[in-house]
Each structure stands twice: as structure tokens, then as C-alpha cells.
């Protein structure tokens, strides 16, 4: 079967500043794939290209075999990819419910929003309790839950998470990762960008390592965890 997401030789730049040279990888349906790398390696840029927020200079992105790299961002969401941005990017002065509503903005997801909302509330009971509260008054962990829940409101086939552990206490990081596992178990494919390498590899099926805009290593999570180079560079062993 063809992979759900195929990224082939993409290159990208911010103005004159080249960020990606030659990035290729794929995600199979049902997998959790993690994209690892240091700050500035190009992980977020790769995600922005996939979600249509940044046009690639070259290369192709295909979802279920269909090229999507020329579509505008809203159309990419409609085709089934949603990105949970780094730093959550909630609307702090809107209520929890309004934030979720903005996640189900497309006509397709709007039609099913009542069921989706029940599903999201069953994954995050805390959000149900706080639905009338302003998003800005939630704790950091709750805000991350809301950001994920908001992304799920579009019923994505592929959920892309950018640094979901950012700024969270270790116990909350574990909680977030546990929820990602649960979401994946319910049939959502996951692409995870993380600096928290060990926990990301414990969760993921496979991983790719990005270094200065190129993929330098790839393998199953178990292989990468055993890779001496990765142990040295990212796990401090």
C-alpha cells in the first residue's frame, strides 16, 4: 500500500535564507513517525511546507498519492492534514469552545462537529469542564490539550504535532505523550516533531533525523534508540 504521506526531495527557504535542502521521508497509515533534530535543523520548516504555510522551492508532498504541495493551507486541512503549531497558538481571549469551533471550520468538519466535539471531550474531559472558560486562563498542560483537541476537530487523517512538550513539566509531557498514543490507537496517523528525543522514540514506530536541512538518519524507533551516534548527540550517553 502507498504511504499516507510522502515527502520527496523538498527544498525550502525564507527569503534568501535556505532552510531545507533535500528532505524525503514517508509516513504509513497508522504509524507514529517522529522527526528529530536540534534547534534550527528544519523540523518546523518541514511541517510548514507540508501544511501549506510555506511554499517549497522544489520537491513534492503527496497525501494518499495526490500531490498537495501547491494547495493553499485551508485546502490541505480539508484533505486531511492538520498541524498543531509550536507554542500552541490558541486564541487566549476566546473561550475553549470557540477555539474548538475554529478547529471545525471547514464545511466537511462542520457537519460532524457535534460528534467530533463529544469525541474530543471524551479524550480531554478537562476541556469539557472548562469549555466556557477563556483559553488564556488554562494551565500550560490544558492549553496543549486544547491545541491538540482543536486540531482534532477537523477529523484529520494525519495529525502533525510540533514540539508538544514545549514548556511543560515532565509529568505533563508524559500525559501529553500518553494522549498522543491514545489518539493514534483510535486511527489517527501521527507525525511528531520533538526535541525530547528519548520520549519521542519510545512513543514512535519510526524516526528520521534532520540536520541542517537534510535527513541524515532514519530507522525504526528501536534502531535509532540503539544508534551510538544518536545516543551521543541527542541522548547524552
Amino acid at each position: 500500500m502507498a504511504p499516507l504521506l510522502e515527502v520527496e526531495k523538498i527544498a525550502a527557504a525564507y527569503g534568501e535564507v535556505r532552510a531545507l535542502w533535500d528532505v524525503s521521508f514517508s509516513v504509513q497509515t497508522g504509524e507514529i513517525v517522529t522527526l528529530l533534530g536540534a534547534n534550527g535543523a528544519g523540523k518546523t520548516t518541514t511541517m510548514r511546507v507540508i501544511s501549506g504555510l510555506l511554499r517549497p522551492l522544489g520537491g513534492e508532498v503527496r497525501l494518499g498519492g495526490r500531490p498537495i504541495h501547491r494547495l493553499p493551507a485551508p485546502r490541505i486541512v480539508a484533505s486531511g492534514i492538520v498541524q498543531i503549531p509550536e507554542g500552541r497558538r490558541l486564541w487566549p481571549r476566546m473561550s475553549v469552545l470557540e477555539n474548538l469551533e475554529l478547529g471545525a471550520y471547514l464545511p466537511e468538519s462542520r457537519a460532524r462537529r457535534a460528534q467530533t466535539l463529544d469525541w474530543v471531550f471524551s479524550l480531554f474531559p478537562r476541556l469539557a469542564e472548562r469549555r466556557a472558560q477563556l483559553a488564556g486562563t488554562l494551565s500550560g498542560g490544558e492549553q496543549q490539550m486544547l491545541a491538540i483537541g482543536r486540531g482534532l476537530m477537523s477529523r484529520p487523517r494525519l495529525l502533525m504535532l510540533d514540539e508538544p512538550s514545549l514548556g511543560l513539566a515532565p509529568i505533563l509531557v508524559r500525559e501529553v505523550f500518553e494522549i498522543v498514543r491514545k489518539i493514534n490507537a483510535e486511527g489517527v496517523t501521527v507525525l511528531l516533531v520533538e526535541q525530547n528525543v528519548r520520549q519521542a522514540l519510545e512513543l514512535a514506530t519510526r524516526g528520521y533525523v534532520l540536520e541542517t536541512g537534510r535527513i541524515t538518519r532514519s530507522g525504526t524507533a528501536a534502531e535509532l534508540l540503539q544508534d551510538p551516534e544518536i545516543k551521543r548527540a541527542y541522548l547524552g550517553m
Binding site: S51, P72, P74, W91, M94, L102, Y105, R131, G151, S154
Partner: protein
Amino acid sequence: MRALSARLPWARGAPWAPRASALAALALGILLALVPAVAPRDITLLNLGFFTFLYVAQGLAWNVLGGYAGYVSFGYAAFFGLGAYTTALLWLAGWPPLATYPVAGIVAAAFSLIVGVPTLRLVGPYFSIATIGVGEAMRVLMLNLDRITGGASGLNLPTAVPSKTWFYTTSLLFAAVAFAVAAWVRGSRVGLGLMALRMDLEAAESLGVRTALFKNVAHSLGAFLVGACGGLYATFLQYVHPDTVFSFTESISLVLIALIGGLGTVWGPVLGAVVFYAVQDYLQTSYPTFHLLVYGVLLILILLFEPKGLAGLAERAWRRMRGAPARLAPAGPSGAEPAAPGRGGAG
């Protein structure tokens, strides 16, 4: 939970707010509509009403893109002027004035798309500056198209015009339509999207909000209303001149009205237009430029102390009046936007 999802609330602020606000607007509208019956000969009063309502309508129209979505345009005079000239030319061609207003609105809305599709890709000050350019270019263009617009001598229009009462009532109707549109947009899905894109454009796009489409819808909705107002104005004055209907002052007025009244609020432009026109009317005759100073002072005070304008001030006063019991309610997170008690218990 099912009951809750079925009525996903759009409520911003208290749940009673939209209904109370609609009722208040309706009552006020009816009251104002009775004025000509009580004082049919008071030309000054009817004229004051006509201009105030005309500005209320335009302030509300401007606020849809400018306030909700945060795209501050200094170019709405182009829509006003196009509307005025559309009515003028059709009226000269024998149309009844009333039939020309929708056409005036459509012409202005079509032009707003031509301008909006490229310029609404710009953000913040870049957009605002581009709109100044468009507005001024239109004025100069119209001044030089003298075959059509009469150029620097303007166009004289038919002198057979409806009564002052008719103008008063029509203008009030325009304001009512603009209020209904502004209130509806604010409470709708489109309004939520516009506010979301104002606060975080990229987050909105990445969730599938078609931001370019919504910005253009908001822009052309505003342009339609302002264009129709331009048409009404041309009928009232029986004369159009590029320098008046395409003037930069006209563009600035709408920005001031929304800012003074309260950016992004439904009642803001209503209050703003009343203050704006009352100040202008009282001061312009005796001290020709003094009203500009008053606006300047008002603007500074508002930016410093109450960014939500007069509407914000009124809300604050209202809250203080009934503030003590509201504070005691357990649900409100900070008092900034009271968590709806009725809604919270719906699940």
C-alpha cells in the same frame, strides 16, 4: 453533552447580550422613526438625523473589516464616491433615486474586490498605506475623467427631490440595515473567523479558515453599504464633486467613528457616529477647525484609557452598576468576560 453540542454557542460576553442588544436597537429605531411625525417641520433636526444615521451606517460598515478583522482601511471614500457617482449618473439617465442605491452598492462592492484581492494579502500598516494610495488615486482619476464626472466643476443633479422626512427615514433605514448586518456578522461563523484571523492569521489558516475569502467578503460587504450611502448622499445634496465624495476626510471620518466608538464592537460605531457628527455640527459653524482638535484629544484619551472606545466605557459603567453581584458568581475567571452561567450548566 449532546445538548451542549447541539447549541454550540457563539456567545461572546454574556449570553443575554445579543438579544438585549437587538431589542435595544429595535426600540431606539422605532423611537427615532417617530421623530418626523412629532416634528415634521424641524428641518435642522431632520438634517442632523440624516447625516448622523448616514455616518452610523458607514461606521458600522467600516467596522466589519476594520474592527472585526483588524484591517484598518483609509480608502473607503472610494466606495462612497463610486456609489455617489453611480446614483448621480443613473438618476440623470432617468432612474428613480431609490432604485439606484442597490446598484451604487454593487458597483462599490465590485470595486472593493478589484482592490481587495491584491491589497488584503498585505498585513498591518502595509495594507493601510495601500488603501490611502487607492483612495487618493480614485479621487485624482475622477477629477480628470471630466466627461463622465464633470471633473472639477462636478455634476448638478435633478432638483426634484423627496422630502426631508423621506431622507431622514431612508437614512435611518440604512443605519438599521447596517446594524443588523454588523450584529449578524459578529455573531456568525464568519465573524468568529474574522476575529480569529485578526488575533492570529497563521493559526487561523492552518486550521482551515479561508482567511483570504473572509477578508474579501467583509471588505465587499462594507463597500456595498458605504456605496449605497454615497448614493443616498448624492440624492440629498443634488450635486456631486470628486473632491467631496472621494475626499480623504470622508475616509478618515469612518476610521475615527469606529475608533472613538469602539473597534470591533457592534454599538461602537453607533455611539461614535453620534459623537462625531454632533461635535462636527456644533463646532464647525462657529469654529471651523476646532472640531479636529476635539477629535484629536478624544482619540488620545481613548487610545490611552479605553481601547474599546465609548462602547467599552459604557460596558464598564454598566458592569460597575451591577458589578458587585456579578463578582460573586463563581464561574467568572477574571471578570474580563463573564463565563455564561446558563450555558455552563447546559452539559
